[in-house]
């Protein structure tokens, strides 16, 4: 009964989405207040019914209802309850339902928190989001119904969730990633609404900025979790593979980063308006493209659940409608929203322009590398693969090029600045960064030029920011006043930029200093890596809730003192008979020690063992967390609250008008 109920709720949600996509838009066109005022209610209804559908599917998973096809294929009665819950989105149908649910959450959030928006704008924004919801709800219902039953033919037990996905990181990775992915639909909806209305002004940028920042912050966290998961779960200690699916989430992030910087210029200076709109369209289109790449099965990846051509075709058509439609609208309307403000060569505008161009170029190179194999295959030119060397060769220099400008950005002035002022502001930080960056690698023994370069760049970011913060606070009469006077958006920027600096250091130090060794080891044998002695002390058997495992126990010591005990496992999952490597990691701020088991070698009980020494690998993820926190902090800025307060005062009227 419950699955049918969920199916029914999903159909009602589709009907509501169709209404949401049409009625308010018609109302906005005919200036019919009643029709426009329906939008927030419809958005709430959409959330309620997709929510019901989601709860129904979750119930089916938790109750082991193997008559439901997705449950039978992706769960098992032995599966621990928490993974039964996360199994809801560990499959194609369920993850699509999560996509729709999160879209509904964003739509309802816009309806709830944007009461201060003029009704005309709000109804258009919600209608655009409704349109996106129509696309994905019908995709779910027509090609990937999560509530399809296996009656008759209900299996006695399920086939189990892919063991790779039975992991705490995977419980929250998809929801966070989708919050980001789907969150760009808000920026997109604002952009389309502005094009429809022909009004692109500073207030438009101010409205869409907090939404963009939140979506970006979620996406940052989602990508970071994915990278962390790959690091400890895949068992080979890599944290970024330039896998097409990673790229699929990374491209919207790159475009989103460009977008939020360009929105800053649009809000503060009223410049780059058409460009910002284009970026918003671009960022969301890349989210859709990512969904297409992941969900159509055109790619080889852990994430590619489905290989049903109908599904791919559906998303491709939807993508074409969204991209084609919005670009046509852009072509028709964008010239009408041109700006006539000027700025000089040396100004914050130019620096942000550099940011935009670099991020856009980076997005395009990643896009090219991702689509190149598909393109060649479609043209019958053979099956190429574009590997990490291509992406590293293109991406790393671009980012290195970005950092010098990034250090200048926060200290520069809008409209016009001078080289003398920059010199006065940054001479000291530059010299300090050079000194630190060039000497610090000496501490590690072997001098590494790349690490030195990374440290100089990160130091330049860090010291420039610190100096700027200090000057700001010093200018205030008291420290407390200075702190209070500095806006939250400034602190957010500082955090995010520091996070980026930490990422740069982490990525370069890990890539350059990591030591990796694949060895044949027997019990009693020891091996020394970067001063750490890994001793294989014991081989044991272990029984988990739904798997059996061989466990290798290691004692790691340094200079005779025990540092850690590590116990990597080789698991065999009972339901699927699948073999899984479970790495053991001793994490630290400055180094990770990583042990994973390969396979048994020879007859003497020896195993292939993988040992890693990974310096500063945590900095990368810490940096990403800093960036995300920075994104969230900017939203607390007073000027958005002021806007809300002003809106709250006016909300009475709007609500009044809505009922009229």
């Amino acid at each position: 009964m419950i699955p049918e109920f969920g199916h029914f709720a999903l159909i009602i949600a589709l009907c509501l989405a169709v209404l949401l996509a049409t009625v308010p838009l018609w109302g906005a066109w005919r200036r019919n207040t009643g029709a426009m005022a329906l939008a927030p209610g419809l958005a709430m209804g959409l959330l309620v019914f997709t929510g019901i559908a989601f709860v129904c599917l979750t119930t089916a998973f938790l109750q082991d209802d193997f008559s439901v096809e997705v449950v039978a294929n992706n769960s098992n009665s032995l599966l621990p309850p928490i993974y039964k819950f996360s199994a809801v989105w560990g499959n194609h149908e369920g993850s699509l339902l999560l996509w729709v649910l999160i879209l509904a959450v964003w739509t309802a959030a816009v309806a709830l928190f944007s009461r201060e928006l003029p009704l005309l704008v709000l109804s258009r924004v919600l209608a655009v989001m409704g349109f996106v919801a129509v696309g994905f709800l019908s995709f779910s219902l027509l090609t990937s119904n999560p509530f399809a039953r296996l009656i008759p033919g209900t299996p006695a037990d399920g086939q189990d969730l892919n063991p790779l996905l039975q992991d705490p990181g995977l419980i929250i990775h998809p929801p966070l990633l989708y919050m980001g992915y789907v969150g760009f639909s808000v920026a997109f909806a604002f952009a389309i609404a502005a094009l429809l209305g022909g009004r692109l002004d500073a207030s438009w940028a101010r409205w869409s900025r907090p939404w963009t920042n939140i979506a970006w912050a979620f996406l940052t966290l989602g990508i970071m979790l994915g990278s962390w998961w790959a690091y400890y779960e895949l068992g080979w200690g890599g944290w970024w593979f330039w896998d097409p699916v990673e790229n699929a989430s990374f491209m919207p992030w790159l475009a989103g980063t460009a977008l939020l910087h360009s929105l800053a210029v649009t809000e503060k200076r009223g410049l780059f308006k058409s460009w910002t709109v284009l970026l918003a369209i671009f960022a969301f289109s890349l989210s859709l493209l990512g969904t297409f790449l992941v969900r159509s099965g055109v790619l080889t990846s852990v994430h590619a659940f489905a290989t049903d051509p109908a599904r791919g075709l559906f998303i491709l058509v939807f993508l074409a409608i969204v991209v084609g439609g919005s670009l046509t609208l852009y072509a028709l309307r964008a010239p009408a929203v041109n700006s006539r403000v000027s700025f000089a060569w040396l100004s914050r505008e130019t620096l942000l322009l550099v940011n935009n161009v670099v991020f856009l170029v980076a997005t395009l190179t990643v896009l090219f590398g991702t689509l190149f194999p598909l393109l060649m295959d479609a043209l019958g030119q053979g099956k190429y693969s574009v590997g990490p060397p291509y992406f590293n060769a293109v991406f790393v220099p671009l980012m290195a090029l970005l950092v010098p400008f990034m250090g200048l950005g926060p200290v520069s002035r809008w409209k016009r600045d001078s080289a003398q002022r920059w010199k006065a502001e940054l001479l000291l930080p530059t010299l300090a960064a050079l000194a630190c960056g060039l000497t610090l690698p000496l501490l590690h023994g072997e001098y590494n030029l790349w690490v030195a370069l990374a440290l100089v760049l990160a130091g330049w970011l860090l010291l420039g920011l610190l100096r700027d913060v200090w000057f700001r606070l010093r200018a205030a009469p008291t420290l407390a006043r200075g702190l209070r006077r500095t806006p939250a958006s400034y602190w957010g920027m500082v955090l995010a930029h520091l996070g980026f600096a930490a990422c740069v250091v982490g990525v370069v130090a890990t890539s350059q200093y990591s030591i990796e060794r694949d060895l044949k080891m027997e019990v009693g044998q020891a091996e020394t890596l970067a001063g750490y002695r890994f001793e294989f002390v014991e081989l044991a058997n272990f029984r988990g809730p739904n798997y059996l495992a061989d466990e290798a126990r290691f004692v790691v010591s340094r200079n005779g003192e025990e540092v850690a005990r590590l116990a990597p496992q080789k698991r065999r999952y009972l339901a699927s008979n699948q073999i899984m490597t479970e790495a053991a990691i001793d994490a630290g701020l400055f180094r990770d020690l990583y042990v994973a088991m390969g396979e048994p070698v020879g007859q003497g009980g020896a195993w292939a063992i993988r040992l890693h020494y990974k310096p500063m690998v945590r900095w990368m993820w810490l940096g990403a967390i800093f960036m995300a926190v920075g994104g969230f902090v900017t939203v607390m800025d007073k000027r958005y609250r002021r806007q809300r307060a002003a809106r709250a005062a006016g909300a009475g009227e709007v609500a009044h008008g809505a009922q009229a």
């Binding site: 000027s342 670099v358 099956k383 590997g387 671009l398 020879g602």
Partner: protein, 158 residues
């Protein structure tokens, strides 16, 4: 110069500068870093280049996996049921690598026709087949005609 025109000049110069840098980088990076997939039949026919990075994939031949006793060196063969290619790899094989299953190896072909692999990829779960392998098997089955069809069909079904 008129301020608006100057501003356009800044924008255009930025775009031109960075995109030409990017195109240069891309052309440079693409030269040595893409590799083409070859089914075992084409490798055996000598169509695959020697000394260049390529990928070869197929089903791992039953009984072909030989492990060294004192190192992590592994030798195995992959086949598309027309020809098979020997592959040598040193390191830890992926969890789902097994005889009779699909695998793709990336590496360089030496003069003796042995692929010196730097990376071996297997599938991610039981039901999954690397698309290149599926394609190669499909092609080989089509070429062999009806006689051997059920043999290849078995490989396909696994």
């Amino acid at each position: 110069m008129h301020p608006v025109r100057k501003q356009r000049l800044i924008v255009v110069l930025c775009v031109v500068l960075f995109s030409s840098a990017a195109i240069g980088l891309m052309a440079y990076a693409l030269r040595g870093n893409i590799n083409l997939f070859f089914p075992p039949a084409e490798v055996a026919a000598g169509k695959a280049p020697v000394g260049q990075p390529i990928r070869v994939g197929g089903m791992v031949v039953d009984g072909s996996v030989q492990r060294s006793d004192n190192s992590l060196r592994v030798r195995f063969e992959v086949t598309d049921y027309q020809a098979s290619v020997p592959i040598v790899y040193e390191g830890i094989l992926p969890d789902l690598f097994d005889e009779g299953q699909g695998a793709v190896a990336a590496g360089v072909l030496d003069e003796n026709g042995v692929l010196q692999a730097t990376e071996v990829l297997a599938k991610h779960d039981e039901n999954y087949m690397p698309p290149e392998v599926a394609d190669a098997l499909e092609k080989s089955r089509a070429q062999m005609g009806a006689g051997n069809a059920d043999k290849a069909g078995k490989g396909q079904g696994e």
